[in-house]
C-alpha cells in the first residue's frame, strides 16, 4: 500500500531524511517511533503530499508523489496534533465543508454516521471553538475518515489530550484499524501505541533504524526502542 525508497528531504543545508526506505502492507497499523527532531513529522508530511521529497520515490495506493498527489489525496486521511478545523463553524458545518471539498455523494448520511462514530452527534450544532481539546481531536478524526480513506496518517494524535480523551481516541483508532484501513502513526508515547500497532519502526536521524512486529519483541517495547536508538 505504501512504498518509499531512498527518501531524502533537505531544508536548505540541513538534511532531515537520509535515504529512508519504508513499506507498509494493506491493513497494517505501523507506529513510527522516534525522539523529537528525528524527522517523523517531516516524513508524515511527505506521505501526506504536504511536502515534496528532495529525492527518492514515494508510492501510496498506486499513486506516485508528487505527480499524482491530487488522486492520492482522495484516498488519504490525515490527523495531526492540530485539529485543522474552523472554530467559528459548528461540528456539522466543518464536516459539511470538507464533504464538499471531497465531493462526497451523500454528505448528509455520511456526516451523520461519522458524528455518531466519534460520539459528537449531540454536539453537532455547537461551535468548534467551544469544544475541549479532546472533542476537537475527535472531530479532527471525523474529518480525516469522512471520505472513508484507504490510508490514514496520524501525527502524534495524543498530544495535549487528557486520559479520557486519549482512551476515546484509542477506541476510534481501533475502529479504523478493524475496518482494514492502513494506518501509519508517529508518536513518542510508547505506552499509547504499544496496544494498537501491528508493527513498530524506529526513526532516528532521518533513517528507519529498527523494525519489529509485536511478536518479535524480545522484551517490552521500551527496551526495543532504547536498543534501536543506542545502535
Amino acid at each position: 500500500m505504501i512504498r518509499v525508497r531512498k527518501l531524502v528531504k533537505r531544508f536548505g543545508l540541513k538534511t532531515v531524511l537520509r535515504g529512508l526506505d519504508f513499506d507498509v502492507q494493506q491493513g497494517e497499523f505501523v507506529a513510527v517511533l522516534g525522539p523529537n527532531g528525528a524527522g517523523k513529522t517531516t516524513f508524515l508530511r511527505i506521505l501526506a503530499s504536504l511536502s515534496r521529497p528532495s529525492l527518492g520515490e514515494v508510492v501510496i495506493a498506486g499513486c506516485r508523489l508528487p505527480a499524482q498527489a491530487v488522486a492520492l489525496r482522495a484516498r488519504l486521511g490525515v490527523v495531526t496534533h492540530q485539529p485543522l478545523l474552523y472554530g467559528d463553524l459548528t461540528a456539522e458545518e466543518n464536516l459539511r465543508f470538507f464533504a464538499r471539498l471531497y465531493s462526497l455523494p451523500d454528505p448528509g448520511e455520511r456526516i451523520e454516521a461519522v458524528l455518531e462514530q466519534i460520539g459528537l452527534a449531540p454536539r453537532r450544532r455547537d461551535l468548534v471553538r467551544t469544544f475541549s481539546r479532546g472533542m476537537q481531536q475527535r472531530l479532527a478524526i471525523g474529518r480525516a475518515i469522512l471520505h472513508d480513506p484507504e490510508v490514514i496518517l496520524f501525527d502524534e494524535p495524543h498530544t495535549g489530550l487528557d486520559q479520557n480523551a486519549c482512551d476515546m481516541l484509542d477506541q476510534v483508532l481501533r475502529d479504523v484499524a478493524a475496518r482494514g484501513r492502513t494506518v501509519v502513526m508517529t508518536s513518542h508515547d510508547l505506552s499509547r501505541v504499544e496496544p494498537l500497532a501491528t508493527r513498530f519502526d524506529v526513526l532516528d536521524r532521518g533513517l528507519i533504524c529498527a523494525s519489529a512486529a509485536p511478536r518479535d519483541l524480545r522484551g517490552n517495547l521500551l527496551d526495543f526502542y532504547r536498543e534501536a536508538l543506542a545502535k
Partner: protein
C-alpha cells in the same frame, strides 16, 4: 499487552466507494461559503476593515479642507487609498486565520487543484472588499456632499477590487509563511498594485468629472488586462506558493 490490538491485516477493507475527485467549482464555492459563514459568526475581519476605512475617510475629511469644485478631483485618490489600506487588513487576516489554526493544511489535503483554494479565498476577499465599499460610498457621499452612485464608478470599483484582491490573495499566501507577515504583505503588495491603483483612480476620476468615455476607456482596459493577467498568474503559481 496485545489484548486490544487491532486485527492483523488479513481482510481486505470493506468495499471502498468510488473515489470522486473534487470538482474545481464545487471546491471554490465551498471555500467561499466557509469564509463567509465563519465571518458572519466572528465579524472579526469585516468589522476591522470597516472601522479602519471609516476612520481613514474621517481623518481625510478633517485634514483636507476641500472647495466643492475640487472634490471630484480628490475623491478618487481618497477613495482608493482608503479601500487599499482597509483591504490590506482583510487580506492579512484571511490567510492568517488559515495558517494560525493549521487549517491551511486541511485545505491543502483536499483532492482538488490547489488553485481552487486561491479562487475561493479571493472571491471571499472580494465580497468583503465590496461590502466595505458599499458602506463606505454613502458615508463618503454624506461627508463630502458628492454623489458616488454612478454606474461607471461602481464598475471601476468592481474591476479595481478584483485586481487588488487577485494580487493581494496571491501575495498573502506567500507572506503568511513568514513571521513578519503583517509588515511583509504591504511591502510586497503596494509596489505590485501601482498599475491597478493608478488605473482605478484615473477611471474613477473620469466618471466623477463626466469625462468623455474615450478618455476613460484606456484605463478601464488597463484594469481588465491587469485582472486577467494576475488571475492567470495566480492560477499557475498558487500551488508553488503554498508548497512547503
Amino acid at each position: 499487552m496485545t489484548r486490544n490490538r487491532p486485527s492483523p491485516p488479513a481482510a481486505r477493507p470493506p468495499s471502498l466507494p468510488p473515489r470522486p475527485r473534487g470538482g474545481f467549482g464545487r471546491a471554490v464555492l465551498a471555500i467561499l461559503w466557509k469564509d463567509l459563514a465563519a465571518e458572519m459568526r466572528s465579524r472579526e475581519l469585516l468589522s476591522a476593515m470597516l472601522v479602519f476605512a471609516l476612520l481613514v475617510i474621517l481623518i481625510f475629511n478633517f485634514a483636507i479642507e476641500l472647495a466643492p469644485a475640487l472634490r471630484s478631483t480628490i475623491t478618487p485618490g481618497v477613495l482608493w487609498v482608503t479601500l487599499a489600506f482597509a483591504g490590506t487588513l482583510g487580506l492579512n487576516r484571511s490567510m492568517a486565520v488559515e495558517k494560525d489554526r493549521g487549517c491551511l493544511d486541511g485545505l491543502l489535503l483536499a483532492p482538488v487543484d490547489r488553485s481552487a483554494i486561491f479562487f475561493g479565498k479571493m472571491l471571499a476577499n472580494l465580497v468583503f472588499m465590496l461590502l466595505v465599499a458599499a458602506i463606505l460610498l454613502p458615508v463618503y457621499s454624506l461627508l463630502y456632499n458628492i454623489n458616488l452612485f454612478r454606474p461607471g464608478l461602481l464598475l471601476v470599483i468592481l474591476l479595481g477590487s478584483l485586481g487588488y484582491v487577485a494580487v493581494g490573495t496571491l501575495l498573502a499566501g506567500m507572506a503568511v509563511q513568514a513571521r513578519t507577515r503583517e509588515v511583509l504583505l504591504p511591502i510586497l503588495l503596494f509596489p505590485v498594485i501601482v498599475p491597478v491603483l493608478l488605473a482605478a483612480v484615473r477611471a474613477s476620476g473620469g466618471f466623477l468629472q463626466s469625462a468623455p468615455f474615450e478618455q476613460i476607456l484606456p484605463w478601464l482596459n488597463l484594469l481588465i488586462g491587469y485582472d486577467v493577467i494576475f488571475l492567470a498568474v495566480a492560477y499557475m503559481v498558487f500551488d508553488f506558493i503554498v508548497e512547503e
